[in-house]
């Protein structure tokens, strides 16, 4: 029943854990102070500054470490919020159906109809640029898909005989939802959570790149890429470092998510046996 993760998704998970460790390093200034000026401006990677220095002479390595941390923390917080909201509404709408279901579905469709970055910029325009805008954007961008999928899973679970048996036994709504529906859609929530995390990272990157998200001097992957963009020809390492980390993070999360999905939501494969 429980199969282990395949090698690829194990690699993804390892990569992700390495990035988290990498980010944690910045909290103890493992590679030095991210704001300290340590050398010449725009120096290429060398033994003292492995990822080069930026336009102010700050070492890029600790800045990328801080940036990964900011981005991951922001995205994870947002995804947890998304998961909580989506689980609540998705499960209730899926189990109850009827009017509530229609309202939830229509709301989700409205949100879904905005392209992610347009929605994010809109949120930033209303809330003003900053971390909070980035957080809210990620939540709003990831909620529609997660709610829809949780709802769909909840509809399926609600029709299963053990839920009917609980209703016949006289179980009340909180028990049915909490004991029977939630544990059986938890897999969907976890899998969609990983995908939402990668969406969150790219939304943060995009928003901060446009200047509406995390504000300097605090580093995030988006902020670093934005700053590096101005020196793309003269000092490409400014953008290659954080860019690579961004790509690796998203790739690792998606690969891990695929493995998680295969394990938690094995599709009813039509085998010939």
């Amino acid at each position: 029943m429980r199969r282990p993760l395949d090698l690829l998704s194990k690699g993804g998970l390892g990569c992700l854990l390495a990035l988290v460790a990498f980010a944690l390093g910045s909290t103890v200034d493992l590679a030095g102070d991210p704001d300290a000026i340590v050398g010449p401006r725009l120096a290429p990677p060398g033994p003292e500054w492995w990822m080069g220095t930026d336009n102010l002479g700050r070492s890029m390595l600790p800045r990328v470490m801080e940036g990964v941390g900011t981005t991951l923390l922001l995205s994870c917080t947002a995804v947890l919020l998304t998961a909580a909201v989506s689980a609540a509404f998705g499960i209730l709408a899926g189990y109850r159906g009827g009017y509530l279901n229609e309202v939830v579905l229509r709301l989700v469709e409205v949100l879904y109809s905005f392209p992610a970055i347009v929605l994010a910029v809109l949120v930033a325009a209303v809330l003003g640029p900053g971390q909070f805008a980035a957080l809210a954007s990620i939540v709003l961008v990831t909620i529609p898909l997660m709610t829809r999928l949780v709802r769909a899973a909840a509809v399926g679970v609600s029709q299963r005989d053990y839920v009917t048996a609980a209703v016949i036994s006289g179980a009340r709504l909180p028990r049915i939802l909490g004991r029977h529906v939630l544990p059986n859609v938890a897999g969907t929530i976890a899998v969609q959570g990983t995908y939402a995390l990668s969406v969150g990272i790219s939304v943060e990157g995009g928003l901060s790149f446009l200047g509406f998200g995390v504000q300097p001097p605090q580093a995030s992957l988006g902020v670093l890429i934005r700053q590096g963009g101005s020196y793309m020809i003269a000092a490409p390492w400014l953008i290659i470092g954080p860019g690579t980390v961004l790509v690796v993070a998203i790739l690792a999360i998606n690969v891990f998510g695929d493995g998680l999905r295969d394990r938690l939501e094995p599709r009813e494969t039509r085998s010939l046996t």
């Binding site: 029943m1 053990y162 036994s169 006289g170 059986n184």
Partner: protein, 245 residues
């Protein structure tokens, strides 16, 4: 009379908006189940037998007609029936919550009623021919037949007066089907519950039921003692079912 359906009609509306059509899942169905009796209900998919089961369990309100349980019409709230009426449902694969240990599933009807569980679960598992140790297992560690026995234990734990078996053996292997059917007969002798046994399989229904009702297209086309269904049912459709055995 433990359960009585009087002129029950259930209408669904289907189809897209503006072109809704009324679909009669049940049309003037009158049935009764006596004390300690098993009423068999035979019909194919779409005959309305599943809807009849849901109406008998109070899960669906009839569009018209009345349903009474133990002489009193159903109340407004489903919970009033809790514990006095149980069901064993079709699919052994989905009859138990895969995330719950078997023992907790069996105990659930008691817990819901606010009663403490004092060894009844183990006792009941043994009653249905399982080892008490299975209480600590998860459903996926059990075979289909074992899972259906667990469902029966869960249904019996509140000592209900009436149990609905909806296609309770259809998904099981032939040699296991008879084991479960025998178990149902034995438990009925011990516990004295009344039952509504719903199935598409006349053979299985005939084996456990005292009387049989045949449904087709939402209507009961024939009701007679089981004896009749071994020899000469009156309705053409019943004859056809008998021939198909």
């Amino acid at each position: 009379m433990i359960l009585e359906l009087d002129q029950v009609t259930v209408t669904f509306s289907t189809g897209p908006p503006l072109r809704r059509r009324a679909l009669h899942a049940m049309r003037d169905v009158s049935l009764h189940v006596g004390e300690g009796e098993t009423l068999g209900l035979v019909g194919e998919s779409g005959s309305g037998k599943t809807t009849t089961g849901r109406v008998a369990l109070g899960l669906r309100r009839p569009t018209s007609g009345t349903v009474s349980f133990e002489g009193r019409p159903f109340g407004r709230r489903r919970r009033e029936l809790a514990g006095r009426m149980q069901a064993v449902l079709q699919h052994p694969h989905w009859s138990l919550n895969p995330r719950m240990r078997v023992g907790r599933s069996v105990a659930e009807p008691l817990v819901v009623l606010g009663r403490a569980e004092r060894g009844e679960v183990r006792e009941m598992l043994e009653q249905v021919g399982l080892e008490a140790e299975l209480a600590d297992r998860y459903p996926h560690e059990l075979s289909g037949g074992q899972r259906q026995r667990v469902s029966i234990a869960r249904a019996l734990i509140t000592r209900p007066g009436f149990i609905v078996f909806d296609e309770a053996v259809s998904a099981l292997d032939v040699s296991v089907q008879v084991q479960i059917l025998n178990l149902i007969k034995d438990l009925q002798a011990d516990f004295g519950f009344s039952a509504l046994f719903i199935s598409h399989d006349l053979g299985a229904v005939r084996y456990v039921a005292d009387r049989i009702a045949v449904m087709r297209g939402g209507e009961v086309v024939e009701t007679a003692d089981t004896e009749t269904f071994y020899t000469s049912p009156a309705h053409d459709y019943s004859k056809q079912l008998l021939r198909a055995l």
